[in-house]
């Protein structure tokens, strides 16, 4: 648990409490109980025996609930789950905002309303548009398949307070509660599409290209993830897995939201140019139970395919040397950062022109 998590939970405790017949589940500090499954008193959700990341806070009722993790009935029913982060206020740049989005995905897919709260204050960083965008498109996608839960993203504690208040007063079927959910979803929709319109004139292709998502000469959708290497998965001090899972999920649902991608027949190739297939196989053997690895490769892998360096055809000898030189380098430092960016641009343009293809 990060230092700021304790503050966020305290704000939820102090501002909202337990209205109506709702009860709270959260673990303040010095405990890893949140990593246990809901059925075991924790804050981790899963489906068909596979668990997602742990969340931070839940309101529940003492009603029976069939847990999709094992399809057994339990006596505590989660009503609203919150994953919280202070990433907008800790000068954490890059992927900090999105890296926990898969934590809330577990409860959302268990048909429990879920809020990803990125706390905002006066001089917070800007919320990256693809965070609410992804959650909006996830909600839209799964509701069309029968889920009734929503994956909500907000920067405003007041949104959560109102939701819990309405939930406590009228339950999750009350019109007021449903209306509030819709209102938040609409805000997420507008936040994303206003950005798309303002910055890209509504042009999805250009927007996706900025996210390193594009179509190859062979009509294959590709998302390039330049930093993925073996050490990101095998070195426990790195949180690479978190970022790669969340970025993959975000890429897929943005693409689905663009309507340029048909999830009933298209595949998104997740390209890891610096990872040899042998390294992929090694991780697969050495970390079969790693939560993020399992999510990426076995659970949240519908419509995605991981493509390693070995499946790239047409790299020049210089480019191959470039790949080798970057495999163990610090990609955030000169000259490797520049070299990496140059190589990724070359691979992207090669894939678009057809000079480079994917096996």
């Amino acid at each position: 648990m990060s230092k700021s998590d304790a503050i966020l939970k305290k704000q939820l405790d102090n501002t909202i409490g337990s209205p109506g017949n709702l009860k709270r589940r959260r673990f303040i500090s010095g405990s890893n109980q949140d990593q246990h499954l809901w059925k075991d008193g924790g804050l981790t959700f899963g489906i068909n025996g596979v668990s997602y990341g742990s969340c931070d806070f839940a309101w529940y009722t003492e009603d029976s609930w069939v847990d999709p993790f094992d399809n057994q009935t339990y006596s505590e029913k989660p009503q609203l789950v919150v994953e919280a982060t202070d990433a907008l206020n800790t000068r954490s740049f890059g992927d900090a905002q999105v890296q926990r989005i898969h934590h809330g995905l577990g409860s959302f897919r268990c048909n429990v309303d879920t809020v990803y709260w990125l706390r905002s204050v006066d001089d917070s960083e800007r919320l990256q548009e693809y965070v609410p965008g992804t959650a909006y498109f996830l909600t839209d996608f799964y509701q069309k398949q029968g889920l009734t839960s929503s994956y909500l993203v907000t920067t405003n504690l007041e949104d959560i307070r109102e939701l819990v208040e309405l939930l406590g007063n009228g339950g999750n079927q009350s019109e007021k509660y449903k209306k509030k959910k819709k209102e938040i979803l609409q805000k997420m929709h507008d936040y994303f599409f206003n950005f798309l319109q303002k910055e890209y004139d509504g042009n999805w292709i250009r927007y996706l290209a900025g996210e390193q998502i594009f179509k190859t000469f062979e009509n294959k959708w590709v998302k390039i993830m330049p930093g993925v290497r073996k050490q990101n998965w095998l070195d426990s001090s790195k949180r690479g897995g978190h970022i790669f899972v969340s970025k993959t999920i975000a890429s897929k649902y943005l693409l689905i939201g663009s309507n340029l991608f048909d999830p009933t027949k298209n595949t998104l190739n997740i390209l890891w140019p610096l990872m040899p297939r042998a390294d992929y196989d090694e991780i697969n053997i050495s970390k079969p139970n790693d939560k993020e690895w399992r999510l990426l490769t076995k659970v949240e892998n519908a419509n995605t395919r991981i493509v390693t360096n070995d499946e790239i055809i047409g790299l020049s000898d210089i480019q191959k040397k470039g790949v080798n030189s970057l495999q163990n380098a610090n990609l955030n430092r000169a000259p490797f950062k520049t070299n990496k960016n140059k190589l990724m641009r070359e691979i992207t343009s090669g894939l678009i022109s057809g000079r480079i293809t994917l096996n």
Binding site: I7, Q11, N14, R24
Partner: protein
């Protein structure tokens, strides 16, 4: 070979009793508890994150954590974090005063530290339910009990040892802090202890310290009163870093902190039977709960000029915690009296510019 010492109910009692000299009491059908006054207990509860029994809260526990009282994110930086102060305008949010307003029991009665051994969450919950019943049967107030949960795996007890270190060094006239903000990319030391002679003397002189103390003690003055302490000892500047482990027998990552050259000493804090390492001393306990302090065989590489620069930041950091003794309107008044803007940036400017002594006098005047 190094061997970890198993933490048990009895050992926790012994550490607090034999190691730190807190009295022990036997309560009918409940067993041995360690007795602390409300002020010491609040420090214990915040540093350890061990909860007060409170049936109105989830898991029947009211838990406070050191992280609730954050001020800055990093050393040598003044980037305010949500915690003691709000980021949405100048406001004191989480202070000892606001906590006591929320839960009045924090301030009153003697408190009992009760260790409970458990092997799983459900067992802990059921033991707490039984305990609550027993407390009611005994006609006692459950809010006077603080639970020290001891998992069968020895895990989760790092914060308990942070508290023990803190008290031991407070009694040696050090200022201590746990989970102190440090440098980006270096990590967060579990405990740090500072002797900053001029500041400690002033804190004692104006009643803010009874010898040494923790950051929590500095914030508790308005709630629990000023101290009356005098000493002829003139402490020399010193800074020590500690890294706590309860599930492994060494902690070489402490070298990350000593490499900064801020600290003149370093200790691994591990309940273990071993000799100290070359790179750090060892703070441990014996099976009777007595504290054992072993020095490292090699000295720590330290530079006085780096320490001095760091102490300049610590001084401002301490001022911010001293201000947590005020209420928001008192803070606003203080800022405007000193011609500072009533905003978070005005607050930081004020803390940077006012002298330590003048600040202590001002706060003391408000409190008296």
């Amino acid at each position: 070979m190094a061997k970890l010492i198993k933490i048990t109910h009895d050992l926790i009692i012994n550490i607090l009793n034999h190691g730190l000299n807190f009295p022990v009491k036997e309560i009918d059908s409940i067993g041995k508890v360690v007795v602390m006054n409300a002020r010491d207990a609040l420090s214990y509860a915040i540093i350890t994150s061990h909860g007060y029994l409170d049936e109105t809260e989830p898991d029947s526990m009211y838990v406070l954590a050191r992280d609730h009282f954050r001020i800055f994110n990093q050393a040598d930086d003044f980037d305010l974090q949500e915690g003691v102060f709000s980021l949405s305008g100048l406001r004191l949010v989480t202070t000892i005063n606001t906590e006591i307003q929320r839960k009045a029991f924090l301030k009153s009665n003697e408190k009992y530290i009760l260790p409970i051994e458990y092997s799983g969450y459900s067992e802990l919950k059921s033991k707490i339910s039984e305990l609550l019943l027993q407390i009611k049967t005994n006609g006692m107030n459950c809010n006077n009990f603080i639970i020290c949960p001891i998992s069968a795996q020895n895990s989760g007890l790092e914060s308990f040892f942070e508290y023990v270190v803190s008290v031991v060094f407070n009694r040696k006239m050090f200022l201590t802090d746990t989970q102190i903000p440090f440098f980006y990319g270096v990590g967060t030391p579990d405990v740090a202890a500072y002797k900053i002679s001029n500041l400690i003397e002033l804190l004692q002189k104006y009643g803010f310290l009874n010898g040494g103390g923790s950051i929590i003690d500095l914030m508790s003055v308005s709630a629990f009163g000023l101290s009356d302490f005098s000493s002829d000892e003139s402490p020399l500047d010193e800074s020590i870093v500690f890294e706590v482990k309860t599930c492994q027998t060494s902690s070489p990552q402490i070298k990350k902190y000593t490499k900064t050259k801020i600290f003149s000493k370093a200790y691994e804090v591990i309940p273990v039977d071993k000799q100290s390492e070359k790179y750090a001393g060892l703070f441990t306990i014996n099976s009777d709960g007595k504290i054992i302090l072993l020095e490292s065989s090699e000295s720590v590489d330290f530079e006085e000029s780096i320490q001095k620069k760091y102490f300049q930041w610590i001084e401002i950091y301490l001022k911010m915690y001293l201000l947590a003794n005020l209420k928001t309107d008192e803070l606003e008044k203080l800022l405007s009296e000193h011609d500072h803007e009533i905003s978070n940036s005005g607050l930081i400017d004020f803390a940077k510019t006012i002298s330590f002594e003048k600040l202590l006098k001002s706060i003391r005047n408000i409190l008296l």
